[in-house]
Point group: C2
Chain length 370, copies 2
């Protein structure tokens, strides 16, 4: 990561810790670590203590950590990274006056991990001398507003995923199984340069298109709606898109269903602007489906933030009060699922801009009949 | 899941809970839930209280849970599954005499999840009336010894992965990138019927073959060793295999390196039998490499159990005292990594039998020169 960018994130986080009255912080969630210091490996702990940053990892990652991280000292010994971090922190803070407040990530730290931290701290400090303060979303809140480089990466990932869509449609031939189409889709993405898929690709042919959480099966693609929901990772950042295609002639009822979901999706997008609450955007889309008496088939929330993770803050769901801000990147993905028949979902990735929004996904949303 | 099988697992687990003096237990780790009751979805909590089993999930999974689970009552309300489970448990146990010991999975439950459980319990019970008892590996220990149906599934997954290996070798043509070969491999597996890959497939061409944790890159396959490490999931169960192929003519030194790793792998396999300690098996392989002064390049442990997860107990590593028992399924995968040059790893999946072992992986281990 560029030095300036990391230093800037460190500074914003330090301000946050000051506001919360933390003396130290243990960052254990890997996407949060990557965000703050740029480390892309799969094992490590980032620590802030007494004004300075350290990164703890094991022998496999010493070289990589030194190459990737600036602004934090890389530390390796024979202990597991988390125990090492706690041990080092205890030694570093021994002279601290008063009780040491150590922030931990309650959404990610397991009870076993917390025990390991407490044990190491207790070896060097009396129990009364430190307090593990459970925090939630401390780094995640910073991650909501994306920087220019992050937006560039998401845009590249979105464009890569969209670029293979025509070939994915070609592969929807009669006789192919959902599994084969999904496997082919993933392969196309890899050949196009994706690091990996952002999540398990969904290829759901009616009646399975009526299951919002359907996984590809060995069933053959049949007549009706097919939901294609997939995303790629490029330079660490995710994309996410859904299109619904109709195989065989579509009835008037099917066309109307598709049109209703598309109208709801466009209404959701239209509501995206700085200052709007996440719940208001959800309601803008839901209202359209309510008018058509389809809202009871829209059984999930409207969308979610994305970035280093496929699901990030903010959540776009009923009653969510989070205010949208420029730089947030979110999905808008209403869906209607008629049990036993089929479903339609349409999803774009959308950037909140200074004045409103920009739809990043370039793929057309006209109904494709195959 | 077949009714008899589930009932049997429930009973074994209940005995375990009795031994540990637990009145209730909250199973939150999805592979543990799947093992005990057969549920294959992605959200739910399995609860044992007062001699009976309940499964809590949300509206998306009501039908699926009822179809898949026998021996536990499926319960759905508007609360998140974990909060619902805790609420129900508190109501169910209100008349309990003495303090209620509720087992939780400390290796998997986050601090935030524990808070949610405590909060629900506290609404209905005085704090002094219940105790959340942190447990470790309680279900995982039962999962170590596989039943006949589990072994059949692992065998099928291993055979599927091996069946595509010749085509993977074909794809190792000059000019292909690691990423393309990995994408092609995953595609072959899906077309052959795999549900998905068991982990991110590794295709590492020298010098990256010298990094045991290498991910596929956009670099082209060059002359030297290529490590191929992949596994599939079939009916929920994982396979895991590694072969190292040499692209271009191999020097005597490279052939000797390969031969040394193969000898170590065979020595590890030969040591697998009921009654052997996991650490002894690790040592049997490590000793061979020590004789050749290669042990300092063997920087990881010898292997791991596999089943519903790609990494399960037992761990085969230095000093591990776990005794091998019939029905355990493990990998044997020594590797030697010479920094800047290249590496060799060879891995089979091995079943511990009543009298010794059976190598499940049918693929030849002779050095392939491409």
């Amino acid at each position: 990561m560029k030095q300036g960018e990391a230093a800037n994130r460190f500074r914003r986080f330090e301000h946050e810790l000051e506001d919360q009255g933390m003396d130290c912080f243990l960052v254990t969630h890997l996407p949060n670590i990557r965000y703050l210091c740029g480390f892309t490996g799969s094992a490590g702990v980032l620590t802030f203590a007494n004004g300075s940053w350290s990164f703890f990892t094991d022998g496999r990652y010493t070289e990589q950590a030194k190459n990737e991280i600036s602004g934090a000292t890389v530390r390796v010994n024979s202990l597991p990274a988390l125990a090492h971090a706690a041990q080092w922190l205890a030694a570093r803070m021994r002279g601290h006056r008063g009780r040491i407040r150590i922030g931990i990530e309650a959404d990610h730290l397991t009870l076993a991990m917390e025990s390991a931290v407490s044990e190491q701290l207790s070896r060097a400090l009396p129990k009364s001398k430190f307090h593990l303060a459970e925090t939630s979303m401390t780094v995640e809140r910073l991650r909501m507003r994306k920087g220019a480089e992050e937006i560039r990466r998401i845009r590249d990932a979105v464009n890569l995923a969209s670029s293979i869509f025509p070939q994915v449609i070609e592969s929807l031939r009669a006789g192919a199984t959902e599994n084969e189409v999904a496997g082919g889709l993933d392969h196309l993405a890899r050949v196009a340069g994706a690091e990996k898929m952002a999540f398990e690709s969904i290829v759901a042919s009616a009646p399975r298109s009526a299951l919002p959480h359907a996984r590809p099966t060995r069933e053959r693609i049949g007549r009706g709606f097919v939901i294609l929901d997939y995303g790629v990772i490029l330079r660490g950042y995710c994309s996410d898109m859904t299109r619904t295609v109709h195989v065989g002639d579509a009835t008037k009822a099917s066309r109307d269903l598709y049109a209703a979901v598309l109208e709801a999706q466009l209404a959701g997008i239209a509501a995206v602007r700085p200052g709007a609450a996440a719940g208001e955007v959800d309601e803008a889309a839901r209202k359209i489906l309510r008018k058509r008496k389809l809202d009871r088939y829209f059984t999930h929330s409207l969308g979610h933030g994305l970035g280093l993770e496929i699901h990030e803050a903010p959540r776009l769901a009923r009653g969510q009060k989070q205010i949208l801000e420029p730089g947030m990147v979110i999905t808008i993905e209403p869906g209607v699922y008629i049990p036993g028949k089929g479903g339609v979902r349409i999803e774009d990735t959308v950037l909140v801009t200074e004045t409103g929004h920009e739809v990043l996904t370039p793929t057309s949303k006209e109904l494709i009949i195959r």
